[in-house]
């Protein structure tokens, strides 16, 4: 039996799969090489925030979340570590909607704070705003920690729309860098810890806030004088 070599180079059986494996390997290598150039996107969408163990104030509070607050996203470039995008909008709304109902008798979301749009049955409306957010990864700090800082400004408005007071709430969260955990998961945990910290500061600090004292004393005195407060 004579075996003829075809004019074009024939590949032995199984060579297609080898070629596919080689192609996959090259793609993998390329993707690994380019990984540092992409954007690391961190979606902090959930977060299990407990209700605070505090005495609820006998007040009805509105809370207004701006579109900017609901969709807050920090975008930052870290030299040699690519671009980062951290979305905390959904989680910070979740945090406030877990914490505030524990602090007040009733909490409702208010769609608009335009004059005449705030229900007069409310004692006040809280408008939170993210003034600043920062994060750090172990590469930057030479530590084992991923860290997140958030600075909020809380504005409390009368139903008429006049500002009662505004005060800062600072928050910090960190999480340890673990061998099998991704940077995305570590930043997510650090952000959730920062949001818990903000919630804790708000729940404990609200009644002690110097700027709020005159308003709070007035409203609580009015409640005490009412038939419900007697």
């Amino acid at each position: 039996m004579q075996y003829r070599v075809p004019s074009t180079t024939a590949l032995p059986p199984g060579s297609d799969s080898r070629r596919a494996s080689a192609f996959t390997g090259v793609l993998l290598l390329l993707s690994l090489t380019l990984a540092g150039c992409g954007t690391t996107a961190v979606q902090v969408t959930s977060g299990d925030f407990p209700a605070p163990v505090v005495d609820p104030m006998p007040l009805q509070l509105g809370v207004h979340f701006t579109d900017e607050f609901r969709g807050f996203r920090l975008e930052e470039s870290v030299p040699q570590r690519g671009d980062w995008a951290i979305d905390i909008g959904v989680a910070q709304v979740n945090m406030l909607m877990a914490v505030l109902p524990g602090m007040f008798e009733r909490v409702v979301e208010v769609d608009s704070i335009e004059p005449g749009q705030i229900p007069t049955s409310l004692h006040a409306v809280l408008v939170p705003e993210v003034k600043e957010m920062q994060f750090a990864i172990p590469f930057q700090t030479r530590s084992n920690f991923f860290e997140v800082w958030i600075r909020y400004e809380m504005r409390l408005l009368e139903p008429s729309g006049d500002v009662i007071a505004s005060w800062p709430v600072t928050a910090y969260g960190k999480t340890r860098s673990l061998m099998l955990e991704t940077a995305e998961a570590a930043i997510r945990d650090a952000a959730i810890n920062a949001l818990r910290d903000a919630g804790a500061f708000l729940a404990i600090g609200f009644p002690r806030q110097e700027e709020l004292r005159p308003w709070l004393e007035r409203e609580l005195a009015a409640f005490d004088a009412s038939p419900r407060g007697e």
Binding site: D48, V53, R176, D197, G199, A200, I204
Partner: protein
């Protein structure tokens, strides 16, 4: 028998050596009733380090198992139940902060409902020091392998402060220090000889805590 001894002997050979010490200072009487629970909490307010959550859960799990086991509430469940009073920034740091916290009726009620008698605060960390040596690995179409020798030292240092919520006092402190050197020689295949420093510190701390809390003195 061979099937049991062989893996055990292999594990023994593959483990690096660890030396550890445990010290106890008692300043009050302790004892556990059937209804008493213990919470083991990690200190996380320091900037440079935090007590590792896996060390805290290791100590808690060790206390809750074996002989003379103690009823332990999980850290996360406890911190959530008492939110926001045991967060890194709000938790009581010193025993003198405790009466102020307990004067909050809601907090006191939650602690009583959970049956918490003792709070065990763990403070410390495990660090890797003095890494030396080098290892090179290569992969080729015909195979691959590593060659070299790496060694590193790990140190664990933890202190537990035990607070009695009934007497509102610090009833004692237990400290544990452990250190060990791990090795990884590699001739084609790396063979890690890991010194389980944190695990040793956890075991030492848990055993001492168990004896400390169960002592009727």
């Amino acid at each position: 028998m061979f099937k049991i001894l062989c893996p055990a002997f292999t594990v023994f050979l593959l483990a690096g050596c660890v030396s550890s010490t445990v010290e106890e200072v008692r300043s009050g009487a302790t004892g556990m009733r059937d209804t008493d629970n213990v919470v083991v909490l990690g200190r996380r307010h320091n900037n440079g380090y935090e007590t590792e959550p896996d060390f805290v859960s290791c100590v808690g799990n060790s206390l809750a198992s074996g002989r003379n086991r103690i009823s332990v509430l999980p850290e996360r469940e406890f911190v959530d139940t008492l939110f926001p009073w045991f967060e890194p920034r709000t938790a009581p740091i010193e025993i003198r902060d405790l009466p102020g916290l307990m004067s909050n009726k809601l907090v006191a009620e939650r602690l009583q409902a959970a049956g918490v008698r003792y709070l065990v605060w763990l403070d410390g960390s495990t660090n890797t020091n003095d890494t030396s040596g080098s290892m090179t690995c290569a992969v080729s179409p015909t195979g691959g392998g590593c060659f070299g020798f790496v060694t590193w030292d790990r140190d664990s240092s933890y202190e537990a402060s035990i607070w009695d919520l009934e007497s509102m006092s610090n009833v004692g402190k237990i400290s544990t220090d452990a250190s060990g050197t791990s090795y990884m020689p590699a001739v084609i295949v790396p063979v890690p000889l890991i010194a389980r420093v944190q695990s040793s510190a956890c075991g030492g701390m848990a055993n001492q805590l168990k004896a400390f809390l169960n002592a009727e003195s």
